[in-house]
Symmetry: C2
Subunit: 386 residues, 2 copies
Amino acid sequence: MNNFSFYNPTKILFGEGQIAKIGKEVPENARVMLAYGGGSIKKNGVYDQVVKALGDRLVSEFSGIEANPEFDTLCRAAEQVKAEDIDFILAAGGGSVIDGVKFIAAAARYDGDPWDILTKGGKVIRSAVPFGSVLTLPATGSEMNSGSVVTRAEYKAKLPFGSPLLYPQFSVLDPVTTYTLPVRQVINGVIDPFTHVMEQYLTYPVGAHLQDRLAEAILQTLIEIGPEALAQPENYEVRANVMWCATMALNGLIGAGVPQDWSTHMIGHELTALYGLDHAQTLAVVLPANLRVRKADKMPKLVQYAERVWHITEGSDDEKAEAAIAKTETFFRNLGAGTRIEDYDLNAEVIDTIIAQLEAHKMVKLGEQQDVTPEVSRKILEAALR
Amino acid sequence: MNNFSFYNPTKILFGEGQIAKIGKEVPENARVMLAYGGGSIKKNGVYDQVVKALGDRLVSEFSGIEANPEFDTLCRAAEQVKAEDIDFILAAGGGSVIDGVKFIAAAARYDGDPWDILTKGGKVIRSAVPFGSVLTLPATGSEMNSGSVVTRAEYKAKLPFGSPLLYPQFSVLDPVTTYTLPVRQVINGVIDPFTHVMEQYLTYPVGAHLQDRLAEAILQTLIEIGPEALAQPENYEVRANVMWCATMALNGLIGAGVPQDWSTHMIGHELTALYGLDHAQTLAVVLPANLRVRKADKMPKLVQYAERVWHITEGSDDEKAEAAIAKTETFFRNLGAGTRIEDYDLNAEVIDTIIAQLEAHKMVKLGEQQDVTPEVSRKILEAALR
């Protein structure tokens, strides 16, 4: 087990009706900015519940945070925070809104060019406006971590940053708010956490037996309930488990003390920034191909994954690994996600472009061994083509 | 899944050499009290590492916190905290020292009779001296939760309390510090977390699939590595996993959103208070008997436990449940713990006394359904006799 430090002070309020409790979590006399996306929270009742819970506090709004939240939009929001002397930001939405609010919270307290936050990393962040979240789209885990990913469309860039100052003070997770999600978002909400776990689990063994089993616990739960989430949109129990899996997949716990990969994410970010695929769609495309190309290096964990998660007991190690990768891809496909580049009306020509962008973003030594060079990324994309 | 709130702000510094980092975690100019037990930290090098890490800070000491920390001792420590104007307490030791420091931290800031903290519960706690810990005996989980148990020998009482103000600010977990633990403590350090998990897992199903699998992950890890921890005291990997299992077993995570039992603990506390058995010894005695007596109510989870944790696939539900309970008891016995009252040179005469104490401490509606009355507790003790 590697040395680690683990710290996660976000308070989780989980369950039906918990939005009402935010009145006790937001400071009494705070001047609040309610930040959200395209307005789905006005249709599903979340907006009304939030406004009611905030009571007499002065609340201004910032709406229109996009999927893959856009740098320019967020800079405007940060200006509004400064102009209105906002004390507390409340994000209501999915991972994009929460990621966006993390950037807003940092940018509003940053004296330099906010672009620094994305290019120089979270270390430039010395202060942030406190914020909380009401999650309506479980997937990214942003509700219980201190990381974020922001897009700058003019540069075709989608870049991660983070800071210990960017944990939400609280996050409300009410599974009922997810009943009305579009099918595509439900699919994404299973594939995204599944891949988050894989990035932290499917590397090489370091004797972290507990972390391995915790990761397998989340994977097994997602495999079990993922299809049910699609089949039974208003099954509270199923939605509750999907929601809690998504949070647990990326709150730092299963990644503590183990090597981490994240190359699937970094390659996937370029696909989103260039061609607009949903984040989880890019993961469904890149992960199986990534595991195939790097199978030899990942063999011991692939075999463990095959045996424990998919109950594959027959065959050689290589056969088990191949079978487990095939099971993974079939799981994604059966949920309804395309797992090949060509499934998204793209072709081999995109590969050069993606590689060039990875190089432009200095994503040239990816993976748990920093050996996913642009050449390896190219092989992965070729394996993901059709 | 039941509604829940989860909040755990303790920072964990895990791994060899991490004690050196406490210099950055304790406030710069704090006046520190270093609290510890019988002095084993002076033999295993922890004391020297701690003193070095604290650097130039003014440090006073309070030693002699007992296993099952004693009310009178802790009140003396609280007086010392007040008299010396201590800003930060550093607990170095096992669960007893950390539990003791939680009481000291609360009592030093409490104006009334400190006995209130144990009899009226944590709600009387409005403030606490900040504290951190260096854990040397993994077992109780106290290093990453806000609960504590304190003994008052003159009343033969061992009583739990807790408060959100009593999370350690940080806890250092260096597996190397556990190499020199006596065998009995290593045994206890497997059985205690195992039973903590069981108290939160082995109740009745509420559709909390993820929590169930997380609990099973800890149980499986302990079953796998428990015997190795005894056989290979200086195997870092094994000791690291035992240590992290113990913390994860009682940091609130696996218990979030599920019913909890804790009757084994409450009955066990009386055994310790009356007859001086180690805490984990009482759990090894009470848990198997408790599961046998309440088998019918716990059947669905017992069958799940049998199948998933012990891989028992043959037989009727009842046979699976019986086999799983037998496996549990054998696991404890093979580690070296007595699992019957008579193993500790006690006999049937103690049962009346224990029941009387449970009644005196109002422990008359225990368990996840509040149906473990003194009559049920008596049946459990009778089943645990020989």
